[in-house]
């Protein structure tokens, strides 16, 4: 079910362990991870729509320790300064709360926030039917309250849920999942600790019922076998996640 809440809700500050080559310590001999998951198991997710009153649509998502809130405003008239456009504009902005990480963040947009904003835009652009609202802008504002790994995929998932909540017409919901590679192992939906010592990463956002990939990024070295396995794992996870998102939307209506 969509509302399987994460059990631990303590205010324990995040540990940042940067131990190198520590896939051994992150994965127990029995093949379970620090938080008890198996390698190909996603974190418990909590999704909720309608988290912000003032917004046309909004959503809150909690994946393990990663907590994100997204509000959608509009469609509303584009700013006067902007040139005429016969398709709608999508304005995406991702920011991190100053207390999101273990080190206090600075106010103002950092490089990471800018990159995430761009990547969020590209992940959603292909899904939203922009031609149905010419001359107008839809604002998507995402705020990462707690950064616990896999922040971008959670933001993308949550944003598409918020767009649906706002009644913006989309071809399909966009769900996103990340995956970390360690030596020979692939870990789905990695936590921050795992991400800090990963050998490579893969992030995939897709519209599952159209079988269409809207955003993809990969780092590290991937031989062919590993790459196809990783893509398959991500696609599977995206499918399941999309199912959860649909359930949540049905509940909220």
């Amino acid at each position: 079910m969509a509302q399987s809440r994460v059990s631990s809700y303590s205010l324990e500050s995040q540990r940042v362990s940067l131990a190198r080559g520590s896939s051994a310590s992150l994965i127990s001999p029995h093949g379970t991870r620090e938080d008890g998951r198996t390698l190909h198991e996603c974190r418990a997710a909590f999704l909720q729509t309608g988290a912000v009153n003032a917004a046309a649509g909004s959503a809150y998502a909690e994946f393990g320790q990663t907590k994100v809130i997204v509000s959608v405003f509009g469609p509303r008239e584009s700013k006067k300064a902007q040139a005429y456009s016969d398709i709608g504009r999508l304005n995406c902005n991702v920011s991190f709360a100053t207390f999101a990480g273990s080190v206090r963040g600075r106010a103002g947009q950092g490089v990471e926030e800018k990159e995430y904003s761009q990547m969020l835009y590209k992940a959603l652009e292909g899904a939203v039917t922009l031609h149905t609202f010419p001359k107008t802008t839809v604002d998507v504002f995402a705020l990462v309250l707690q950064s616990g790994g896999g922040d971008l995929p959670v933001v993308i998932t949550c944003a598409s849920l918020a767009l649906a909540d706002a009644g913006i017409v989309m071809y399909d919901l966009v769900s996103a999942v990340s995956l970390s590679s360690f030596d020979t192992k692939l870990l789905l939906d990695a936590t921050l600790d795992e991400e800090n010592s990963q050998d490579g990463s893969l992030m995939l956002a897709c519209m599952t019922s159209r079988n269409e990939i809207t955003q993809l990024s990969l780092s590290g070295e991937w031989p062919q076998g590993k790459l196809s396995e990783g893509l398959k794992l991500c696609l599977d996870a995206c499918n399941k996640l999309a199912g959860l998102m649909r359930i949540q939307l049905r509940i909220s209506v």
């Binding site: 940042v16 940067l18 190198r20 080559g21 490089v111 800018k114 990159e115 761009q118 835009y121 590209k122 652009e125 292909g126 899904a127 071809y171 970390s180 590679s181 991400e195 800090n196 010592s197 990963q198 050998d199 490579g200 990463s201 897709c206 519209m207 159209r210 079988n211 269409e212 990939i213 809207t214 955003q215 993809l216 990024s217 990969l218 780092s219 590290g220 070295e221 991937w222 031989p223 062919q224 790459l227 196809s228 893509l231 696609l235």
Partner: protein, 317 residues
């Protein structure tokens, strides 16, 4: 951005749909390119690459610094790309920022591997001098001088060339200090005394631009203006994929993506061979160039490749 009329757009699109491109290339052909090395004397390594009308410079500067606390035995590498307004008016002021960021992040992803430093194009632990205390930090700067499409692929080639041209001075540790003490070291001022990187693992990036129903390689700016989406895939000499970045908004069918990956691997083989050959040719050209100018003036010693500087100083006696 190029302003194309409707007829021109149809011409580009229709041509690609029939497997024809306005410069006569096949859909999966690269334009020819040229490499120049050691063009910036104050950098540790530099290169200029011209592909068609696209023209970029990459420089590598090395500075001694402290390693990050979490990575005591690795050096840092920073990649920064700048799009100069001389290339296009829309790069002026903050206009080029978005593109610059996209390019830098894509290169970062493709060249520097995952969080642990595994899969990085150059061995980050080779940059370490004294574990936890001293390491070389590499600053890789790319500058776009003129743009006619396919910036990312050209920048990757330029960085590969600049890295193969980079010489890092030898550092001699004079006292192996205890954990708390400051380390004493000397940087060798003998220009003959430098180490070079193994750049054989630095990948090339191949951008596949989707126009209509087919995709093309090495798109010009005209062709890029008609793209629906593009995927940049970094492939190294082992045929392993080292980074993928998706650009452009439209969605992409899963099967098309898998197809693109296998095409990029195929293309990477010949591209890597051409890049290596061009770098080799540039290296030998540099040597000749140097000997010629030396006859007329000592001043040019500074212009020459650091690789040859030592030889010449020996000749000068």
């Amino acid at each position: 951005m190029v302003g194309l009329s409707l007829a021109e757009k149809k011409y580009v699109e229709g041509g690609i749909a029939q497997g024809l491109r306005s410069d006569g290339r096949g859909l999966h052909d690269f334009r020819t390119f040229s490499v120049e090395l050691a063009i910036i004397p104050q950098a540790n390594g530099s290169a200029r690459v011209r592909l068609g009308a696209t023209d970029v410079i990459a420089s590598v500067k090395a500075e001694l610094g402290r390693p990050l606390s979490g990575r005591p035995n690795q050096g840092r590498v920073e990649i920064n790309i700048e799009c100069s307004p001389t290339a296009a008016p829309q790069f002026e002021g903050r206009g080029g920022e978005e593109l610059s960021l996209e390019l830098s992040r894509a290169l970062h992803r493709s060249l520097l591997g995952g969080g642990s430093g595994a899969g990085a194009a150059i061995d980050l632990s080779a940059l370490s001098v004294i574990e936890g205390k001293l390491c070389w930090n590499l600053f890789i700067d790319g500058l776009v001088l003129s743009s006619d499409g396919n910036l990312l692929d050209v920048l990757a080639i330029a960085i590969k060339a600049a890295l193969s041209n980079t010489g890092i001075p030898k550092v001699e540790v004079t006292s192996a200090a205890a954990a708390e003490q400051e380390a004493n070291f000397e940087i060798s001022d003998n220009p003959d005394d430098f180490s070079q990187f193994d750049t054989s693992r630095v990948p090339v990036i191949i951008t596949l631009t989707k126009v209509g129903r087919t995709y093309i390689i090495d798109a010009t700016e005209e062709e890029e203006s008609q793209m629906s989406s593009a995927v940049s895939i970094a492939v190294n000499s082992l045929g392993h994929v080292c980074g993928i970045t998706k650009r452009g908004g439209a969605g992409l069918d899963t099967s098309v993506l898998l197809d693109m990956i296998s095409v990029s691997k195929e293309v990477s083989k010949s591209l890597l061979a051409t890049v290596d050959a061009e770098i080799m040719a540039a290296e030998s050209r540099n040597g000749n160039f140097f000997i010629l100018v030396l006859v007329s003036s000592h001043y040019f010693v500074h212009v020459a490749s650091p690789l040859f500087k030592s030889q010449v100083q020996a000749w000068l006696g």
